[in-house]
Symmetry: C2
């Protein structure tokens, strides 16, 4: 990316989200997105493969960040504590992105194909976490269960974070959701 195009990627993503919100995802074309951002279609395609990728480009990074933080947790950490370290890293990475996340979620919830894509991405994150935990020596089924629990906590904490009027940062919301999961799973 040349220096004559500062924040091009972000400008394109914001223009896309605006248009998806205004006229619907299906009705928006790449030409319109580029136009709204004051850029060309060619520039769009240097940054995104298609208009769907604007919504999911961050999913791969999220998976990597989550898995790397789990892998990097202290060797002595129990499986769900390692997942908690991953949740902290993930939560921190969303700082300053709440408005974008809210707009993105509204677009995704309005479109069945995008909801399916989101479920596929979350399933890929769970699979990556389970692999990472097995790499830490966690046996099955504990690895898969801790991984699925981590994704459930992320989903619940994320939904709270984008909820109407919510002001708290994501990390404490994720920590709260993890504590709640532990409470739900505790034998009375």
């Amino acid at each position: 990316m040349g220096r004559w195009e500062p924040n091009t990627r972000e400008r394109l993503a914001e223009a896309a989200l605006e248009l998806y919100g205004e006229r619907g995802y299906e009705q928006t074309t790449v030409a319109e997105i580029a136009g709204r951002a004051g850029l060309t279609e060619r520039t769009f395609f240097r940054h995104y493969g298609d208009k769907r990728e604007v919504l999911f480009a961050g999913s791969g990074e999220l998976e990597d960040l989550f898995a790397r933080a789990v892998a990097g947790a202290p060797e002595s950490a129990a499986p769900l504590d390692a997942v908690g370290a991953g949740l902290d890293a993930v939560g921190a990475s969303f700082a300053g992105r709440r408005d974008f996340a809210r707009a993105r979620q509204a677009v995704i919830m309005a479109n069945a194909e995008l909801r399916e894509r989101e479920l596929v991405k979350l399933a890929a994150i769970a699979a990556a976490l389970a692999r990472t935990l097995r790499g830490r020596g966690v046996p099955e089924p504990a690895a898969s269960l801790a991984a699925e629990a981590g994704v459930a906590v992320f989903k619940v904490g994320f939904e709270r974070w984008i909820g109407p009027g919510e002001k708290r940062a994501m990390p404490p919301l994720l920590r709260e959701a993890l504590a709640e999961l532990r409470a739900v799973a505790a034998r009375p």
Copy 2:
């Protein structure tokens, strides 16, 4: 369904699974499924809307059964104990269906569109369980977390049940997975 067509639905499902396994899901036509079962296409369409529905016709029943058992758990049951009652009911309903489930899973894993459909069905089950738990007075986020945990336990237990050489019935495998989830979530 007339009495002159005993087990028609099951015969069609078995024929479909055989063909999906032999030549692939995409390559199989409804006419071939009906032919293999010794029935007509018209009969097929009296039982299934299309060839995909053969694989997912049971998902709605599974969701209902799971949610009804959670709803019917003793009033005093904690959220995850109510989910456990649901898992028992679900596990019992799979008795005698292991070969079909194995064949079905192989078809689904080989096709991205079917994998997405399966994730959508599991997400629908989690949403139904969360609704049911809220109906039992469980607040959020405990309801969603217990629901997601229940689906995670189902997935993990189900995968064990269809695993190579596995002979145990599904209910004890689901109970084991639930106990494992509790152990994973327990503070050390």
